[in-house]
């Protein structure tokens, strides 16, 4: 009997395909929005945690300026010099130390060019940042020290300038310098903020300082903790050293900060969770509106099919059976809407993930939950119209034109 009822529901739905589709559109949009939001949200948290892993939880960054900077305060704090980097290298709590100097320039190769970010650093940077060389090699110590005109390029830069060909051994021009491409980095994808991490050119720090920027400053220092050293201990040793080198009196505040990646990751994670939650609740509201849409159309349908209900009652249908018929119809409608919505949402999430370069990570539990909720919407919003149908008086219903 239940199977008959479901079959009947399908017949009624197919009989008016366009209206059925418009009826469930609200649920489709609601479910699709929830699924897309949650899937993209999860993808980006997967991204954040994998970034943290790729950076390593043992990475520390030293920056000039106080921790919680107000606008303009950074300027008063002196920048680091390469001598600071040398001093940090002496600390046994650190296994790798790399200066970081950044600028933006246009790289030119033949008649193609690409505006990209240039990072001046040393070979240690690759180790700290978890970068691997896909082709060619890293900087030699000599290149690091002398400021040779060599560079390592990211995948995005390679694609822009060289297409699919091997860039190593070629020479590109950046501002006034010509530099030989000695290596290609393995692609990393998007970073925690959605930025393209592969849109980068690495050069020896001295090359960037002298030839591109024209000063001796080091903007920040990336460091990797030696194994078995807690980040608290590492931070405190770095702070002690830097306070000494920068001659900060006891009681005076630091004019630099040391951040560990865990801190940044957890901050990103919580921003992500708040955003996902917020967007999902907006999407949930549209699911509610979708449910009301179903109720509306089912009520119209009951009025329209009053005679049909009268006929069914006359041939011996019981009120409960009529109720069940309309309830099943509402549930079938909203479940169809739910399924379409789930597929649409996954599709949207897939496309969005591609654009945002984050992993597409559909969750079975979220899909199951969305399916369950769409069925619940059918039951809740179908019940009232179904009861209205079941309560019809057969004589009145048969007389209805």
């Amino acid at each position: 009997m239940l199977w008959e009822t479901v079959r009947l529901a399908f017949t009624a739905i197919i009989r008016n395909v366009l209206r059925s589709f418009l009826t469930v559109l609200g649920v489709v949009i609601g479910v699709a929005a929830v699924i897309a939001m949650v899937t993209v949200g999860q993808g980006s948290s997967v991204q954040v945690s994998s970034n943290v892993e790729s950076l390593g939880t043992n990475v520390l960054v030293l920056r000039s300026g106080a921790r919680m900077m107000g606008p303009g305060t950074r300027d008063t704090a002196p920048a680091f010099k390469l001598s600071d980097v040398e001093a940090l290298r002496e600390l046994t709590v650190l296994s790798a130390v790399a200066p970081v100097v950044s600028t933006s320039e246009t790289a030119v190769y033949g008649n193609t060019n690409r505006a990209t970010s240039i990072t001046g650093t040393t070979a240690a940077y690759l180790d700290i940042g978890g970068w691997e060389i896909a082709r060619g090699r890293s900087f030699t110590t000599l290149e690091d020290k002398s400021g040779a005109n060599v560079c390592i390029i990211g995948e995005t830069v390679r694609t822009a300038l060289f297409g699919a060909t091997d860039p190593t051994g070629e020479t590109i021009r950046v501002k006034t310098i010509s530099c030989e491409v000695i290596g290609l980095l393995v692609a990393k994808g998007a970073g925690s903020f959605g930025q393209d991490q592969d849109d980068i050119i690495l050069m020896p720090v001295r090359t960037v300082q002298r030839r591109l920027i024209g000063d001796q400053d080091v903007a920040s220092v990336s460091m990797k903790l030696a194994s078995g050293v807690s980040s608290d201990r590492g931070i405190s040793e770095i702070e002690t050293l830097m306070r000494e080198r920068r001659r900060i009196a006891i009681g005076e505040d630091d004019n630099f900060s040391v951040t560990d990646m865990k801190e940044i990751a957890s901050m990103l994670g919580s921003i992500n969770a708040v955003l996902t939650g917020l967007l999902s609740s907006v999407a949930a509201v549209s699911l509610l509106v979708g449910g009301i849409g179903i109720m509306n159309i089912m009520l119209v349908s009951v009025t329209e099919r009053t005679r049909e209900i009268g006929i069914r009652l006359a041939v011996g249908a019981q009120a409960g059976q009529v109720l069940m018929q309309f309830l099943v119809e509402a549930v079938v409608l909203s479940v169809i809407g739910g399924v379409i919505g789930i597929l649409t949402g996954l599709g949207l999430a897939y496309v969005a993930s591609g654009f945002m370069s984050i992993p597409f990570s559909p969750s079975v539990s979220v899909v199951a939950l969305a399916f369950f909720f769409s069925a619940v919407v059918g039951v809740v919003f179908g019940y009232f119209p179904a009861r209205a149908a079941a309560r019809l008086d057969p004589i009145e219903a048969l007389r209805h034109q």
Partner: protein, 234 residues
């Protein structure tokens, strides 16, 4: 004489309350036996449709007793009356009341769905019922593809398919021209004579009432005439 199939005793049906109360039926006594073909006539407002609704268990009397096959059914609740309709009654209406955009076969199958019969059996029985009313070959036609007379035949097949104890026809020829009306009445008379089907029919046309074996006339909620129909009138 066979046992009473339908027995109305002092049936009263009132609508509204107090000053505005209307007595649609006012103490109706009526016995219909198995195998009878009863035509119910009367002016509009005479209570003939109300009586039909009560006999058909679509409505409940305000007072009085209704014994169907010897069982009191006046006090049954909605669902019990639905079961009674499902198992013992077949309805034919003036407006045919077929499901639109639904084939003749599926329309006829409808009562059997509620009887919980398996699909194969339903199709076989519905096909047989359509054959009984002379509609073989029209199984897949929707009502809109059938003439009025054919639609009413589908409705009759639907009333027959559950093998009811009585068929209730409410002005079955009201929407048909004379030629189709005669055909339908011939069919009903044939079902009554050849198969012994008990038929209760409401009509306002003398010509159609003439096909019945007994005529009951209502006026102001009472039975004012109850007599056998003289042979040869049609």
């Amino acid at each position: 004489m066979s046992a009473p199939l339908i027995e109305l005793r002092g049936i009263t049906r009132t609508y509204g309350e107090g000053e505005a109360m209307v007595r649609a039926l006012d103490g109706v006594d009526l016995i219909i036996r198995e195998g009878e073909f009863v035509a119910i006539m009367g002016p509009s407002g005479s209570g003939k449709s109300t009586a039909m609704n009560i006999i058909g268990c679509l409505d409940r009397p305000s007072d009085g007793h209704y014994l169907f096959n010897g069982v009191e059914v006046a006090t049954l609740d909605q669902d019990q009356r639905a079961l009674l309709r499902r198992n013992y009654l077949g309805f034919v209406f003036q407006g045919f009341n077929l499901l639109a955009r639904t084939t003749a076969l599926e329309n006829v199958e409808l009562p059997l769905i509620y009887k919980g019969q398996p699909r194969a059996e339903r199709v076989a029985r519905a096909g047989a019922a359509l054959m009984r009313v002379g509609l073989e070959g029209r199984e897949d036609h929707a009502p809109s593809q059938l003439s009025g007379g054919q639609q009413q035949r589908v409705a009759i097949a639907r009333a027959l398919v559950g093998e009811p104890m009585v068929m209730l026809a409410d002005e079955p020829t009201g929407n048909l021209d004379t030629k189709r009306s005669v055909e339908i009445m011939e069919l009903l008379r044939q079902l009554n004579r050849d198969e012994g089907l008990t038929i209760v029919m409401v009509t306002h046309e003398e010509d159609m009432a003439a096909y019945a074996s007994r005529l009951v006339v209502f006026t102001d909620g009472r039975v004012v005439r109850d007599e056998p129909v003289t042979e040869g009138a049609a």
